[in-house]
Amino acid sequence: MADRYSFSLTTFSPSGKLVQIEYAFQAVNQGVTSLGIKASNGVVLATEKKSTSDLIDASSLSKISDITPDIGMVYSGMGPDFRVLVDKARKSSHTNYKRIYNEYPPTRILVQDVARTMQEATQSGGVRPYGVSLLVGGYDADNGFSLYQVDPSGTYFPWKATAIGKGSTSAKTFLEKRWTEDLELEDAIHIALLTLKESVEGEMNGNTVEIGVIGPASDHMLGFEGVKNIQGPRFRKLSPQEIDDRLDAI
């Protein structure tokens, strides 16, 4: 794109706004609600898997994706834009970090990288901003568990709990009342499901809702035992059965 277009398509309006970014926010707010909650021992990411038809094979599409074994990401807005950002984040965590330092990037570094990609799409020639907001949850040894939001503008914020997309305002009010410092992961999953229930229109079960968790290391996933100083991944998706079990408990 940049070869034919040497000028940015995102330019200032007389009022000082970048209208293309405002429009990108509109695309986000029309998207399905997603939320994230940080607990004392983990992070929950949740979203609704809204299908336009019952014929859609919902299990084949994954809205919550892992970027590194300890970092996961969910979105509200345009699915294809999310897909591209996931691929870029996964690749960049290797080329710009693991292949240099032989370890995965800490959450904040990964977030800054994605945010830079999104900002570049607001200033580079011939491209449009990404039509997604992202919630990135992760764990690293120095900072513990963290939750970040990244916007189409490229701004990023750390959160204790937040929601993005269609029902985000009411969901955030809901979360504000329920979030506490000493929440544990299971409590956070419970609150996430309660919050989603408010904005989900159709049926809510293990197949219409997706939950991703960054929690304790799953050493059994390594495929071998007996090696010290190596931990399994912390990112995990709840199976439809696990979600249904928790929905029954509401």
Partner: protein
Amino acid sequence: MSDPSSINGGSVVAMVGKDCVAIGCDMRLGMQALTVSNDFPKIFQFNNAFLGLTGLATDVITLSEVFRYKVNLYNLREERKIEPETFANLVSSTLYEKRFGPYFVGPIVAGINSKSGDPYICGFDLIGCINFAKDFVVGGTSSDQLFGMCESLWEPNLEPDDLFETISQALLNAQDRDALSGWGAIVYVITKDKVVKRLLKTRQD
């Protein structure tokens, strides 16, 4: 005027002790037979990782500046100090980038992980292959001699003061058997809460 790794001369060695590491180097800088300087240290500190660099002196200087730059940016970006293991991988990737036009150096890294307290040492070849060791690593024009000295003198779980004596004797006697190393020596003894740097009294030839 042939082998870049033995024009300027120099030696480094690192050892692991009980909750401590030590790293030492000679002070000579030469142009083949001519000694140009007796004040050319080959150990550089980056946060809590120590890098010993032998080989072509211009590459020793350049790489010490390259790593200073990379570690400074790491500190600013990550808002934390770099650990020895991470720094070692940074050295490896930096050297491999120049796979087909390498830096003529023989680096070694030594340090203590600030979180776990575990001692860490390793060596590399000129294109970045990591040689992880639990006992000692050597480098430079007297590396053969250093291997012999370390293999015989080293034992596990030496206390800091004993480790100092051991690494000093290994370095001194090895560099005295090498025409291109010597003219002084420096030894760092690193523990979790302090670093002691000592200048050794050596033969000045």
